[in-house]
């Protein structure tokens, strides 16, 4: 490795948005009014763009930072400076490595260079000849936070938004020193929290105060004069003030620390197994580096980190995660494909909810909280209405008790949600959504009744998961205002909304639906009116394969665990129990009616429903699961069992087939929308890229469809 290699690497990215390293000499204020102690070199990382474009770290950026740091090392040697500080543009230290750059590295050698470049640059921070400081003024993720970890001292702003090491989530390791430095700075247990538990829990991040509390920073200052106070603090440290690090672990490890280290590794292993089924390689590499790193020197760890990064950057899981995270969740989710011009949207100033059951209550709460407009719930009698409104008010009280709502906001939200036994209350509503029994005639009758009361422009929305929206519109006077508005359970939590356009739905209605989804803070995906839309169709095709195999005689454990290599959030039978067997059966029947044998309707499941059994598995006190004999007695099996491998392959092929058909039918604009739906609606892992990159990767796309979903560019 040489500077030449780095320049060669940097030259591969002529279009990198460079985060510049601006160096300013500062006369560091003296302590308590004393004269200035000397010149302090302050480096500002700034990509010259506004707060919508976080600073990132690409090869050119790192080379520039490295050059600036080397210059400071020379100046320190000459006695020109007494310290070096690094901080960022407003709201950001640095958001981390430039993922699009890292993703596009062509070979392992380039990945290795990238890893080594980061270490080379960051190590200088610890070898300047004068103390180094990083003032964490704002967001600092991954390589951004690792800049701080490599310095001698750190301050953090109480206003710093998001701090963390999300590498394990992205398919990498915190390999610019993080995995070595963090456990030593804040203790192995805290390090596992930051590097694995937070990273793999929807990429959870730390606030400035939380980071300070863990010991990631040595001092905490408020944003109003964060940099001034950080520099004053730096002056005191340079004048000899002690910095205490109660969570730090020093080497050689004490017996107690050694035991804590091992315990943290064990905890990490259990957590990762439970969270990912070990389906993705990155978390395991983090654990490996942490476990082996217990006895590593810094140089040994850095070398191992380089290798791990080079390996992982070349994995499809990393590339697919970047696709899922950057291209889908961060970008495509914000600009839904096929959504009409937002200017066509009409204002929604009052909402009607037909029905006052559980689902209706969840809708009413969401609309009232997010849209902050009056919401009226109706049902056939006062008791049901009161119960529905009472549920919403009760939920508001729970939010109040948890401190999620202020008293004023709770009062406001409760006042917004009212009930009525008469749909006349919808007369001035702009948006009416039904949450009544899942039967076409019931829904048609409801909309006919509503249409007689509301204005011709009022949006009518159905939350149907399996019925034809087109059929529902058939007898409406104004079918152009009917849209499908398909939420996922629990409504408050799941981020996805499938918006269904029926043939007669007009652009204004659709635009209003998308605007409403955005105001509800949901990610909307436009889908065509086709049975079960996207998420349920894909999920139930998968379930159909598993239940068919089970019915054919595959051992229940084999059937339920065959898909583990995919790392789905739960096993098929667990999912089935959670959704409810009757619901799943009902939707499967609809799909069977629409698409035939691809959606196997299981006689065994019907037997369970008939017997009132809610799930296959019974959990023993030791945590193991089995099917009770009484349940088994109800079931009948064929004699052509599958192995785990066979069932996995069969399911992959089934998914590739189904998604291929959905794309051919034009259910969504492209495979990206399928992936986005599966990530946000079913919680499928990003390392699968949702699903289609995985199907490409395992060969299913070519086996079944003769082509990839994502042909190489």
């Amino acid at each position: 490795m040489s500077a030449q290699d780095f320049h060669q690497l940097a030259a591969l990215f002529p279009d990198e948005v460079i985060t510049h390293s601006h160096v300013k000499d500062i006369a560091l204020p003296g302590v308590d009014g004393a004269p200035s102690a000397g010149t302090f070199a302050l480096i500002t990382l700034d990509n010259a763009l506004d707060h919508r474009r976080p600073s990132t770290l690409g090869p050119n950026t790192l080379v520039e930072l490295g050059t600036a740091l080397q210059e400071q090392r020379e100046r320190a040697k000459r006695g020109e400076i007494i310290g070096v500080g690094v901080t960022g543009k407003p709201y950001f230290l640095v958001a981390g490595a430039d993922l699009s750059a890292v993703k596009s590295l062509k070979d392992r050698q380039s990945g290795l260079w990238m890893a080594q470049l980061g270490h080379d640059v960051y190590s200088t921070l610890n070898d300047l000849g004068v103390p180094s400081f990083v003032f964490i003024n704002g967001l600092a993720l991954g390589g951004g936070l690792e800049i701080a970890l490599n310095a001698n001292y750190r301050t953090v702003s109480t206003g710093a938004g998001a701090l963390g090491l999300p590498e394990a989530f992205l398919g990498l390791v915190p390999g610019w020193g993080g995995v070595y430095l963090l456990p030593r700075l804040i203790g192995p247990s805290n390090a596992v929290t930051v590097m694995l538990e937070n990273a793999l829990s929807n990429n959870r991040t730390l606030s400035g105060p939380a980071a300070y509390k863990l010991g990631i920073a040595d001092a905490l200052f408020e944003p109003a004069d964060f940099l001034e106070q950080s520099l004053t603090w730096a002056a005191r440290v340079l004048a000899g003030e002690e910095v205490s690090r109660p969570n730090a672990v020093s080497e050689p490890l004490s017996e107690e620390n050694s035991a804590a280290w091992d315990a943290a590794v064990e905890r990490a292993k259990k957590f990762v197994e439970a969270k990912t089924s070990n389906a993705a390689p990155a978390p395991a590499r983090v654990i490996e580096l942490l476990e082996e790193g217990k006895h590593f020197t810094k140089a040994q760890s850095f070398a191992a980190e380089d290798e791990a990064l080079a390996d992982l950057m070349a994995t499809p899981q990393f590339r697919d995660t970047v696709y899922a995270f950057l291209d889908l969740v961060q970008k495509r989710a914000k600009r839904p494909a096929g959504a009409p011009d937002a200017k066509l949207a009409r204002p929604v100033t009052k909402v009607g909810v037909v029905g006052a059951g559980m689902m209706a209550g969840q809708f009413a709460l969401l609309f009232a909280r997010q849209l902050k407009v009056p919401v009226v719930m109706t049902d056939i009698d006062a008791a049901r209405v009161d119960k529905g409104v009472g549920y919403v008010h009760g939920e508001v009280d729970k939010l109040l008790a948890k401190g999620r709502l202020s008293q004023d906001a709770a009062n406001r939200t409760k006042a917004l949600v009212t009930g009525s036994v008469s749909k006349e209350a919808f007369a001035d509503a702009d948006f009416v959504i039904e949450a009544v029994f899942e039967e076409l005639n019931v829904k048609k009758a409801v909309f006919a009744e509503v249409e007689a009361i509301v204005s011709p422009e009022c949006i009518l929305a159905t939350n149907t998961s399996s019925l034809s929206v087109t059929a529902m519109a058939a007898d409406l006077q104004h079918p152009e205002r009917l849209v499908g508005f398909h939420f996922f359970n629990p409504v408050a939590v799941m981020p996805l909304l499938e918006i269904v356009r029926a043939p007669k739905t007009d652009d204004a209605a659709l635009a209003t639906a998308f605007a409403t989804a955005k105001a509800l803070r949901k990610t909307a995906v436009l889908v065509k009116d086709a049975a079960a839309f996207v998420v349920n169709r894909v999920l139930l095709r998968l379930m159909a394969e598993v239940s068919a195999a089970f019915d054919e005689g595959t051992d229940a454990h084999v059937a339920d665990n065959a898909l583990r290599p995919m790392g789905l959030p739960m096993t098929p039978f667990t999912l089935l129990a959670m959704v409810g067997i009757p619901v799943a059966q009902h939707v499967t029947e609809s799909l069977h009616a629409a698409f035939g044998e691809r959606f196997h309707v299981s006689a065994n499941q019907q037997a369970l429903i008939d017997a009132g059994i809610k799930g296959l598995w019974e959990t023993a006190p030791d945590g193991s699961v089995s099917i009770p004999a009484s349940t088994l007695a109800l079931l009948s099996f064929g004699n052509s069992p599958s192995t785990e491998q066979e069932l996995l392959l069969k399911t992959q092929d089934a998914l590739a087939e189904e998604i291929g058909l959905m794309l051919a039918e034009g259910v969504v604009a492209g495979p990206e929308d399928i992936d986005l739906c599966m990530i946000l609606g079913a919680g499928w892992p990003m390392h699968l890229g949702g699903i289609t990159p995985y199907l490409d990767r395992v060969g299913a796309s070519e086996r079944v469809n003769g082509k990839l979903f994502h042909p190489a560019a």
Partner: protein, 414 residues
């Protein structure tokens, strides 16, 4: 109704300011908000006085001449919120052009004296880069049509030339010499670390340059000579006398002070740097606004029962050298009297309009501490549209037995 109402003593507890900057694109605060400058001062004041519980502050009065944009939205309130003071602490904005901060002090001090407040924050700000003098103003045409104000009076440089006309004894040579002395005195004060302790370091970020920390004033031009000044243009009048060298510049900066009733200061263990004796404002012809300090001082001395001979230290704002000299001539004080502007003045350090009043006070407070031979001092300034403001202070460190370090200097009239 309050019974047994008494007038309470008002004390100046502490004052700080930002380093002053030169207005304009190249100035240190070109990319910095005016309200942020105030916020940094308030926070430093709170840090310097840790025994003051923030909830005990009864008012935050902040002056700005132009109250729009980053100086708008009731800046006393916004600055209090942005500084992290409790929501229970109220604030307001105040304006008397150049005497804004001074008026913030006198107004809130009156509230303390009356018993409505115990502790207040008073200060001022002017970001003349963001808010050029008179920007957005819409003078009533009656000023002109009915000759209520000479049109020339709306331009401060013209009023300074007018003052030269009125006092022919004040020559350009005298004003230039006075300006050079101001630069030299400020440089000397910097060398003796008399300025720096009351400055709040301000970090600023400029595009493509990165963050820096501003710890000293930008406007001073130490080493300026009379010959340098003689070469400058006279922008307000051909062959005139007023130049950029013998006037204060266009500047950005903020100041804040902490005032309290004497008993509250005692209760909270706050330092007492000055005791307020009295104050006065007075109006003069707008076209010679620079003479304002004379009638204001006359009035204040009368209210205080003092004579000019009782005043041992003067902090007079140097909007223009001619205006300072007209004041000194009125009282028969020499141009180089050591009681006057010991640390130099606005000609050297700058004059961010509404902020300057508290700078005068902070400097007088430090001089009081340095010189216990002095019992009374005054802070005074001229104000656009023809006014003057004077505040008389008493030195709590006064000790009749000491002699002033500078009292041997010729020209002392004390």
């Amino acid at each position: 109704m309050s019974q047994n109402r008494q007038i309470r003593d008002v004390v100046f507890v502490d004052g700080v300011r930002t380093p002053f900057g030169r207005a304009g694109e190249k100035g240190i605060y070109a990319s910095t908000r005016a309200d942020d400058l105030v916020v940094k001062c308030i926070r430093e004041l709170m840090r310097r006085n840790p025994s003051l519980p923030p909830e005990r502050i009864d008012e935050v009065a902040i002056a700005a001449t132009t109250q729009t944009g980053d100086q708008g939205l009731t800046i006393g309130r916004t600055a209090a919120l942005l500084a992290g003071l409790p929501q229970s602490v109220p604030g307001f904005a105040i304006d008397r052009m150049c005497a804004g901060a001074m008026t913030a002090v006198t107004t809130t001090a009156s509230g303390i004296g009356f018993g409505a407040y115990d502790v207040v924050i008073a200060g001022g700000v002017e970001h003349m880069g963001h808010h050029p003098m008179g920007a957005g103003s819409d003078p009533n045409p009656r000023f002109m049509s009915e000759r209520i104000v000479d049109p020339a009076a709306l331009n401060m440089g013209n009023t300074a030339e007018n003052l030269h006309d009125r006092f022919p004894a004040i020559t350009k040579d005298r004003t230039d010499a006075y300006a050079v002395a101001s630069q030299n005195k400020l440089a000397a004060a910097y060398a003796k670390d008399q300025i720096q302790p009351d400055l709040v370091p301000v970090a600023t970020l400029k595009p493509e340059q990165g963050w820096t920390l501003n710890t000293v004033d930008e406007p001073p031009r130490p080493g300026t000579t009379v010959a340098d000044l003689a070469a400058l243009k006279t922008p307000f009048r051909a062959h005139g006398r007023v130049t950029a060298g013998n006037a204060a510049g266009l500047n950005d900066g903020a100041t804040v002070a902490l005032l309290a009733s004497a008993e509250t200061a005692k209760e909270l263990g706050l330092p007492v740097k000055m005791r307020l004796v009295t104050y006065a404002f007075a109006g003069v012809a707008p076209e010679v606004m620079g003479i304002g300090p004379v009638p204001a001082t006359e009035k204040a001395l009368k209210l205080a029962g003092l004579s000019i001979g009782d005043i041992g230290l003067f902090e007079i704002n140097e909007a223009f050298a001619v205006q300072v000299l007209s004041f000194l001539d009125h009282y028969g004080i020499a141009d180089d009297d050591p009681r006057v502007n010991r640390y130099g003045g606005a000609i050297a350090v700058g004059h961010p309009l509404a902020s300057s009043g508290v700078r005068l006070m902070t400097q007088l407070a430090r001089q009081f501490q340095e010189d216990p031979s002095v019992r009374y001092g005054l802070t005074t300034m001229c104000i656009g549209l023809g006014m003057g403001a004077t505040v008389i202070w008493e030195n709590p460190h006064f000790n009749a037995t000491t002699t002033s370090a500078t009292s041997t200097t010729e020209g002392s009239a004390a």
